[in-house]
């Protein structure tokens, strides 16, 4: 039996109807289920040798009930009929009030139009083939420079089958396949150690490894490590900063994106709550969250609540246009779901999350943007970051940085962190480039760690605090 069919065999329509009905019989006015069967492969290559090879399967169900805007969630992987129904009953009872005495659940199986065509399932490609690509990337990184002391390469793929159903009649299955290569190179010189990272991924099968140039990927990580080992500490204080495209978009993700998720907005916790239609950014800023991009790392046909995904306009010419809303957020805010309910796996209740979030291109050439800066920092490669959506305070790391002096990129600098407040920083974006692209990351929040793309063209911030060392 094919993987996807096993879920449907264990959880056929009558059984799923019974689970949903059990929740509502004991309490609440809405119920949904999320069944997941996921097969993953992890391979670690250190110093050119495979050190770890692990495959595994998770298979469980999450059951949720609502009573107005109160939500109760439970999950289990003891999938015996008695246990699943007992968990459903516990969810209903925890909601505490039987709202619907007469109800019927009529599940209608919806066939999806698949926008994310996968050529090869992870299990169709041998582990040896996957390792072959990892070794190619390793060789390229290692041979980039004699000062590369260590290269760690991690490979990860998974094949996830989900069945999502709810008491409003949704009954839908989907298959998500993702593949990612993560390369960490370490350069050592005169006792100084610095590392460089590059982690391309996609909503594709292992054919992705053929599509990208794994050798170039290895070189890219090595190049950062080699550049940074010679770098001086970054200067400290407020200055103009140009942030390069692709993973540079992590600034929008952290500074603004999280605060536009219903989980922050619905209870008024976000600094952007109640600001729809207002000018929140400079006019050159437009941004979207788009889970419909074919085969992108953060894409899916439907969200983890069974709603079709969308391209959501977040900001248009500086005006706040929309939020990312899940089902519960939709109830709390009185606005429709945007198909943004996501979760790491069945052990997490879904909540509003980003998918592929990026700033749209502007008019300027990246060179023109750098030329406009007399003195500042050029953040070429960004690391991760984090934010407190309640205050808008964010921080993120610059993994590869350079000084800009008299409109030209001068010497490399390391150890810079950028901090600020999201709602202030988007009012300081002065120029937006025409070179938009996206990079891949894992985003951690209430519903776990999920694949998400960040992205932007090159942008210029008038001023931001750079955390570096004082001379």
């Amino acid at each position: 039996m094919k993987r996807g069919e096993i879920v449907l065999e264990r959880f056929d329509k009558p059984f799923v109807e019974e689970i949903l009905a059990t929740v509502i019989k004991y309490g609440g006015d809405f119920a949904d289920v999320f069944v997941e069967d996921r097969y993953s492969t992890n391979i670690d290559l250190k110093n050119g040798k495979v050190e770890l090879a692990q495959t595994g399967r998770m298979f469980g169900i999450g059951i949720r009930g609502f009573l107005d805007d109160k939500a109760i969630y439970a999950y289990t992987n003891d999938l015996s009929r008695e246990n699943v129904l007992a968990v459903a009953k516990r969810v209903g009872e925890a909601l505490g009030e039987v709202r619907l005495r007469d109800f019927s659940i009529d599940l209608r199986k919806k066939e999806l139009y698949n926008k994310h065509f996968v050529l090869l399932k992870p299990e169709q490609v041998s582990k040896e083939t996957k390792v072959g690509y990892m070794k190619k990337a390793y060789e390229a990184a290692k041979n980039y420079s004699p000062i590369i002391a260590q290269v760690v390469i991690r490979y990860w793929d998974y094949d996830q089958n989900v069945l999502i159903a709810n008491s409003e009649g949704v009954f839908v299955t989907d298959n998500r396949v993702r593949t990612r290569l993560m390369i960490n190179a370490v350069a050592v010189k005169d006792g100084q150690m610095e590392s460089g990272f590059y982690g391309p991924g996609a909503g594709m099968g292992p054919e992705y490894l053929e599509k990208i140039d794994v050798e170039q990927a290895g070189i890219r990580a090595a190049r950062i490590a080699v550049r940074m080992v010679d770098a001086q500490p970054a200067p400290a204080g407020k200055m103009t900063v140009v942030i390069s495209n692709e993973f540079g978009g992590v600034i929008f993700h952290e500074a603004v994106g999280h605060a536009l998720e219903a989980s922050s907005v619905a209870r008024g916790m976000s600094v952007f709550a109640g600001k729809l239609g207002q000018q929140v950014a400079t006019e050159c800023v437009s941004a979207v969250d788009d889970a419909t991009i074919p085969n992108a790392w953060g894409s899916a046909n439907i969200d983890d609540e069974g709603a079709p995904t969308q391209r959501i306009k977040l900001i248009e010419n500086g005006v706040l246009k929309g939020y990312m809303i899940d089902k519960l957020g939709s109830r709390r805010m009185g606005m429709p779901s945007t198909g943004s309910g996501r979760r790491q796996d069945y052990t997490f209740a879904p909540t509003s999350r980003m998918s592929n979030t990026f700033i749209l291109p502007g008019d300027h050439h990246p060179e023109e943007i750098i030329a406009s800066v007399e003195y500042g920092l050029y953040a070429k490669t960004m690391g991760g970051g984090s934010v407190n959506p309640a205050t808008g305070e964010f921080n993120f790391a610059v993994n590869e940085g350079y000084l800009i002096e008299n409109g030209k990129i001068s010497k490399p600098v390391k150890g810079a962190t950028l901090i600020g407040k999201g709602y202030e920083i988007i009012q300081k974006i002065e120029m937006v480039g025409n070179d938009v692209s996206r990079g891949q990351g894992m985003c951690g929040s209430y519903s776990g760690s999920i694949p998400a793309d960040v992205g932007q063209p090159t942008i210029k911030l008038r001023e931001i605090i750079v955390g570096g060392r004082n001379a």
Binding site: V50, A53, G60, T76, Q192, K238, G385, N388, E393
Partner: protein, 435 residues
């Protein structure tokens, strides 16, 4: 199929194939409730199990895991076939369970006996406490408890089990100001009486109010106190540096430095299998090796790396009982307290900053080089007293240089996530703020 049958099947498959096998079984129970502004925002009550299989053949280990008991053959095949791509020269081992295990009290499940009403009252009471001030505009209160039953057995005779667990609370208060001011407080405990929602709520509230009117400070070098919760976060870097695996792979700046002075004279750090404040204690590590107390830094001198079976053999030393999955981890990283109270530390500092929150450890701190640059919140200390809140600054430095600059340790021990430590006073740290 029962777990016992599953295990027997795997072990007999191992025998038939002439390999060794190890099974890890964990059964987890997890309850969590989150309130935002007094409204229940999230409620999870759940449990699951996971079985991990390791197959050992010619010194190589292949791994697989499953959440189904009905396919031992597939799980065995997967693990066995994963061995075929391993080409590391490292030699892997299983442990036979013949060592001496410490008698560490397992978790007594005391939180499991609380009713749902009692559980959510922790979050509700924290919320009520925070809202005693009219200047609070937003708040969050979280209560959770978990229990994990772990069993590990292998074909060499190892068969050990342990139950761990406890409860935790988290509260965030946001005070009204031109820019909203947030503060958080948390608590963990092995029994319900160790959690005080009024204390957690009031600490978060009072700190957010104290931050009203925060401003940045001039960039420069400052004497600082890293408050215990902040020092705990930053100590995560040390755990990566003292892993023998990282040292053997050239990923630790402490490589080759055993016996060298790496910290200030007053610094003493141990790894403890058990501490009463912690909910992370265990009599054995994830390879089944007994855990034991060991000195990591004594009077500033680096004493030992932490080992699993593989790294110990490679270095020709005894394993230290610190295997954690495929990596190496402390059980309870314990920093010995000093004699001064927090207030006495303030007086000693006299002029500087108390760092009360850092952000960005996962991105702004590099355990390979030891360099860090992190967003921070602080209080300005002048004349030995806190004068005002400080926002929008970063702290930067090198972790190992910082250990050398520790002047004093406080007496205010606190435990979180397997790290138990006091506040520390550092003579000088780079601060970026206003020009």
């Amino acid at each position: 199929m029962t777990l016992e049958q599953f295990k027997d099947k795997i072990f007999s498959l191992a025998k038939a194939n002439g390999v060794e096998a190890q099974i890890g079984y964990s059964q987890n129970k997890n309850f969590q409730v989150r309130y935002q502004n007094g409204e229940m925002d999230q409620y999870t009550d759940a449990g699951k199990f996971k079985i991990t299989i390791q197959i050992l053949k010619d010194g190589k280990i292949g791994m697989s895991y499953t959440e189904r008991l009905d396919e031992p053959e597939k799980v065995f095949e997967d693990a066995l076939s994963n061995i075929s791509i391993i080409d590391s020269e490292d030699v892997e081992y299983f442990y036979d369970g013949k060592g001496e295990y410490l008698n560490i009290e397992p978790y007594d499940g005391s939180f499991e006996r609380l009713s749902v009403k009692e559980r959510i009252s922790y979050a509700e009471r924290a919320h009520e406490e925070i809202r005693k001030s009219a200047d609070i505009i937003n708040d969050m209160a979280v209560y959770g408890q978990q229990m994990n039953e772990m069993r590990l057995s292998n074909t060499l005779g190892l068969d050990v089990s342990y139950v761990s667990g406890g409860g935790f609370m988290y509260a965030m208060a946001v005070a009204k100001d031109l820019s909203p001011r947030s503060a958080v407080e948390f608590a963990i405990g092995r029994s319900p009486d160790a959690l005080d929602p009024v204390h957690v709520g009031s600490k978060a509230r009072d700190e957010s109010l104290a931050l009203v009117g925060s401003k940045s400070v001039k960039s420069g070098k400052y004497g600082v106190i890293l408050r215990n919760d902040v020092f705990s976060d930053i100590l995560g870097m040390l755990i990566s540096m003292i892993s023998a695996e990282n040292a053997q792979k050239n990923l630790s700046p402490l490589k080759g430095k055993i016996g060298e002075k790496i910290g200030s004279d007053v610094l003493n750090i141990k790894d403890l299998p058990y501490h009463p404040l912690s909910i992370s204690s265990s009599p054995f590590d994830t390879q089944g090796v007994p855990t034991k107390e060991k000195k990591i830094i004594e009077n500033g001198v680096f004493k030992t790396f932490l080992h699993n079976l593989k790294t110990a053999k490679k270095d020709g030393v005894e394993p230290t009982g610190n295997a954690m999955g495929t990596g190496i981890q402390t059980i309870n990283l314990y920093v010995e307290p000093g004699s001064k109270s927090f207030n006495e530390l303030l007086e000693t500092l006299s002029d500087g900053l108390v760092i009360i929150e850092i952000e960005g450890m996962h991105s702004g701190a590099n355990p390979i080089s030891g360099n860090f640059s992190l967003g921070a919140k602080a209080f300005r200390v002048e004349g030995g007293k806190i004068t005002h809140g400080v926002e929008q600054i970063t702290i930067s430095g090198n972790f190992l240089e910082m250990l050398k600059n520790i002047e004093e340790l406080g007496s205010d021990l606190r435990a979180f996530m397997g790290i138990i430590n006091p506040s520390v006073l550092i003579s000088s740290l780079d601060i970026a703020g206003n020009n």
